[in-house]
């Protein structure tokens, strides 16, 4: 037994948390650290846990580094950067025993906040900035970069790398660049002179992110819409989805705008936009615009969050029943009602699956990260036009608004979009008659005409009862014929939505089903369970309707868990309703407090059921 008191060195495996005040400029310092770690080639995640507020309330940022790629949210923090006096008590309590706390020592810390098992690192940030910067705003902002400088030294982040990142960020503003570089150096030098740098847990460069990018899901989704060829977007501002359209607007302005020189010399150039983005009066109008545009044959989408989906329900039913394509991006946040707009959840699953009154069923896709946001958004447009129906891309706030390390996106230039079954004027010329909802193909989809086509193909889109010819009806058989086909059509989409990801282990008695952003936490939990001698199979559903594999996965396992981020086990219910497996054959593991899932919550959920004991018996 060693009596060496030196702490264990841990390389590229730790978590830090930064406690800040909203609106003080901490976000840029925090993402600077995150980006530097990413550039060092180390798997990393950054999660912004922010309030629904512009200025003044507490906000936190968590960075997790893990050489094996386990970058789901950690619940134990090796280093706390306590920059918010309002939350000192809870922040100090959150530090792991044996961990560190960095605070602004310009003012003394209350004695009762002290912990014997935590090392306190005081950096006089406010004083430093007061002495070195003249402008009041700068004195506040530069404290952030100064603490980043101290962290660079404490964690062994490559200083030159950080300097070059600042140079890139402030390439066009010399004054700001100089201030930032100076503040960085102040914090860095103080830490090097005062503390034993680096700390026992620290970073060493790797090469695991060479082919990766650091991107948030909202940006990735906007890129997907751009590449899918979306030309019409209707939307209404809502947290956390707003950045989808902000990014789409920026991308379109760059890649879809043509500046045509004036016809004669001296004439001003004219702008031609190969897109239109309409900020609607509400989400009802947003989806209405999407339907109008999609009816006309343009690729069209909207982005929103739960409250917006609630409003869209009426027209989603219209789209379903009249068979009009639509792509709806739902960046889920914590409900019900206004709920917690800046917190994450996966609680719109059932809402979206069955949106609107009457018998409806929709196609859903569940991306787990920004790479899948890009991929699934492109796929959603194909699915919507192929099946002539609304298709949802269900992100959540964690995926949408946080930066993720994912493989760089690629594009296949031979890609041809699936525009679905459309009858052209040439087709009409060879047809005796055109009917909107018959004949249907093997996927139960009938061909449509677009407005503007020859009068032979003119028909009435109607949300009222209609028969397979598109005519108004109140006749039982005629009505049922259409809605029964719609049910079959929905079922046929099962093999066209992204297939589940399955990872099996030999002799696994338990199976864990999950979706979306739970991915990393669940896979980490499965590794941890394996270390405890419990083998678990993994299935991540990526689309609805479900393929038969989902049912088989549940039936195959003695114990099946469904891990999701909502109170009521919505995915579990949906699986039971749609596949017929008894709901009792699945155990829920739920996290719905508004923060991203951690592996520990999954492990606790499995272990808490007493399975280990039962399996050992």
């Amino acid at each position: 037994m060693s009596i060496d008191a030196a702490p264990t060195v841990r390389v590229n495996d730790f978590a830090i948390k930064l406690a800040n005040v909203n609106g003080t400029g901490s976000a840029s310092a925090n993402s600077l650290l995150m980006q530097a770690i990413f550039r060092m080639g180390i798997p990393v995640s950054g999660k912004n846990l922010f309030p629904s507020n512009i200025q003044g309330l507490p906000t936190w940022y968590e960075i997790r580094v893990n050489k094996d790629g386990h970058t789901a949210r950690a619940l134990e923090y090796d280093l706390m950067v306590a920059m918010n006096a309002q939350t000192y008590a809870e922040d100090i309590a959150a530090v792991r025993s044996g961990g560190y706390l960095l605070f602004d020592s310009s003012w003394p810390l209350d004695d009762d906040l002290h912990r014997d098992d935590v090392t306190f690192l005081g950096v006089p940030l406010a004083r430093m900035c007061l002495e070195n910067f003249a402008k009041p705003r700068e004195r506040i902002l530069m404290k952030n970069i100064a603490y980043a400088g101290a962290i660079v030294a404490l964690l062994g982040i490559d200083l030159e790398l950080v300097r070059s990142l600042l140079a890139e960020t402030f390439a066009r503003n010399e004054a700001l660049r100089e201030s930032n570089q100076k503040a960085l150096r102040l914090g860095y030098d103080f830490a090097v002179e005062t503390f034993d740098c680096p700390l026992p847990f620290h970073l060493e460069a790797m090469d695991s992110t060479t082919d990766s990018i650091l991107i948030d899901g909202n940006t990735a989704t906007a890129l997907g819409a751009l590449y899918a060829g979306a030309t019409v977007a209707g939307w209404y501002p809502i947290t956390p989805a707003t950045a989808v359209m902000d990014n789409f607007t920026k991308l379109c302005a760059t890649y879809r705008r043509e500046v045509v020189p004036g016809a004669n010399e001296g004439d001003p150039p004219t702008v031609k936009n190969n897109y239109i983005i309409l900020q609607a009066e509400d989400e009802i109008a947003a989806i209405g615009m999407v339907l109008g545009a999609s009816w006309s044959g343009a690729r069209s989408f909207t982005s929103t969050s739960g409250p917006g989906i609630s409003l869209m329900n009426e027209l989603l039913g219209l789209a379903y029943y009249t068979e009009i394509p639509a792509v709806i991006v739902d960046v889920q946040r914590t409900g019900p009602s206004t709920g917690m707009p800046t917190r994450t959840q996966q609680a719109d699953i059932l809402l979206c699956a069955y949106a609107s009154h009457g018998d409806t069923k929709h196609i859903l896709t569940f991306p787990a990260n920004p790479a899948e946001c890009f991929e699934f958004t492109v796929a959603a447009f194909d699915l919507a036009e192929r099946f002539q129906t609304p298709v949802f891309v269900l992100l959540d706030l964690d995926i949408g608004m946080n930066d993720w390390v994912v493989p760089a996106f690629t594009w296949d230039d031979t890609f041809v979009p699936d525009r679905g079954r459309i009858v052209t004027d040439e087709d009409l010329a060879g047809m005796k008659e055109f009917f909107r909802y018959t004949p249907a193909d093997a996927d139960h989809v009938a061909a449509r005409t677009l407005p503007g086509s020859d009068s032979k193909g003119a028909y009435f889109v109607r949300g009222s009862g209609h028969d397979m010819f598109g005519r108004y009806t109140e006749d039982t058989d005629e009505y049922q014929e259409v809605v029964d086909r719609l049910k079959r059509k929905h079922a046929a989409a099962a093999t066209h939505v992204p297939a589940p990801v399955v990872i099996t282990r030999p002799n696994a008695a338990i199976g864990i089903i999950t979706l979306g952003g739970c991915d990393l936490a669940v896979r980490e939990a499965i590794d941890e369970l394996a270390e405890r001698g419990l083998a678990a199979d993994y299935m991540r559903v990526r689309g609805f309707p479900f393929v038969a594999d989902v049912r088989e996965f549940v039936e195959r396992h003695q114990y099946c868990f469904v891990v999701e981020q909502n109170r009521d086990g919505q995915l579990r219910s949906l699986i039971s309703i749609e596949t017929g497996v008894p709901i009792e054959s699945m155990h829920s593991i739920l996290a719905y407090g508004g923060f991203p899932l951690s592996a520990a919550q999954v492990v606790d959920g499995v272990v808490g059921l007493g399975i280990i004991e039962q399996l050992e018996d």
Binding site: I213, Y227, N274, S294, F409
Partner: protein, 351 residues
């Protein structure tokens, strides 16, 4: 909505328009509205307007919401593309459709319940956006399909067939339009085809949203004594001072029939609109004068009809958004997808 196919009975040779089509080619299914319904007269006016304009039927998109008025697109231009949407939401669908394909003529038919209650927000914003469409409100002051409840356009003192007289302020779509920055505002009466047809034709030629409020008596629920939307009330209280002629681009203006004052406005497509008769002090291009005039007459219990306001110079939705002339739905995928090289380049922004 239920509809009955209209038997095509060959009658005496009918006049043909420039496309060689007769008025029959612009009709739709048989109306299932009540006999004498004002809406059917509006349907007839729309039918005539499109026939006279020689608009190819397949280039017309007719949209509606829910209600008696919203049934009527079935009854005109059978060769047009139709969309009967949800209650109050027609403007949103029309906005999206017009945004995607600017080559068609869009006509939305709505009612006072559809446009002034459940869908008033959408109407207001469609006006603000100046969506390229004709927007007809068939205004009868009541909800017909649900049997006679008063709507938001019912005047104070109006008595429903059952129950108490209305005591809350009515919403006037023309006043709403003036406040929202509308660029074409007209009011007419379903019983006056002579006035309505030229207004409809001018509305089709207008670049932007043309709002036409047509008082259209409901013979079943709102044509009784005490109603301000009855045939009798309209015949007694209509003030038809703003009289217009619409001359399509192709025709020469033969005679501008004299009146107190004439004033011509060239429409976006080159056709000419002549205000044959406007009262003194009234300027149909001046928002304030229009508002004052209508209010003054409202105080006297009079309903002013005609093409009341026109701003042909304002940019429409397409000009505001710089959309391409050929329609967004016509753009090939190759013009929309930036391709692999751009993506690879873009990726460097995220490293």
């Amino acid at each position: 909505m239920p509809s009955i196919t209209k038997p095509l009975i060959p009658l005496a040779p009918l006049a043909k328009n420039e496309l060689g089509l007769t008025i029959r080619d612009y009709e739709g299914a048989m109306s299932t509205l009540c006999a004498g319904c004002g809406h059917d007269s509006i349907t007839a006016a729309i039918t005539h307007a499109f026939w006279e304009l020689s608009t190819p039927p397949h280039t017309i998109a007719k949209l509606s919401g829910i209600g008696c008025s919203s049934k009527t697109p079935t009854y005109f231009v059978r060769g047009a593309h139709g969309f009967n949407s949800a209650h109050g939401r027609m403007p949103t669908i029309a906005t999206g459709a017009a945004a995607a394909n600017r080559e068609l003529t869009y006509i939305g038919v709505s009612g006072d319940g559809d446009s002034l209650s459940i869908g008033i927000g959408h109407l207001a914003h469609a006006i603000r956006r100046n969506v390229n469409m004709v927007y007809v409100i068939e205004n009868n002051g009541v909800y017909g399909l649900t049997k006679g409840q008063l709507s938001a356009s019912a005047d104070i003192g109006t008595r429903p067939k059952k129950g108490d007289a209305n005591v809350v302020a009515p919403i006037d779509p023309i006043m709403l339009g003036l406040a929202m920055g509308a660029t074409f505002l007209a009011r007419s009466f379903s019983g006056d085809k002579e006035q309505l047809i030229p207004i409809l034709k001018a509305a089709v030629a207008h670049n932007g949203l043309a709002l036409i409020d047509v008082i259209s008596p409901c013979v079943t629920f709102n044509d009784h004594e005490g109603s301000t939307k009855s045939y009798r009330f309209m015949r007694e209280h209509e003030v038809k001072e703003v009289v217009t002629d619409f001359v399509p681009e192709r025709e020469e203006i033969a005679v501008a029939i004299g009146g107190r004052e004439t004033r011509s406005v060239t429409m976006h497509d080159g056709s000419v609109l002549t205000f044959r008769s406007v009262p003194e002090g009234y300027d149909p291009t001046n928002r304030i004068s229009v508002e004052e005039y209508i209010r003054d007459h409202q105080r006297l219990g009079e309903v002013v009809t005609g093409l009341l306001y026109l701003d042909e110079g304002a940019p429409s939705m397409h000009e505001i958004n710089h959309t391409p002339l050929e329609g967004l739905n016509k753009l090939p995928f190759s013009a929309l997808c930036p391709g692999s090289a751009v993506l690879e380049d873009l990726m460097s922004d995220f490293r």
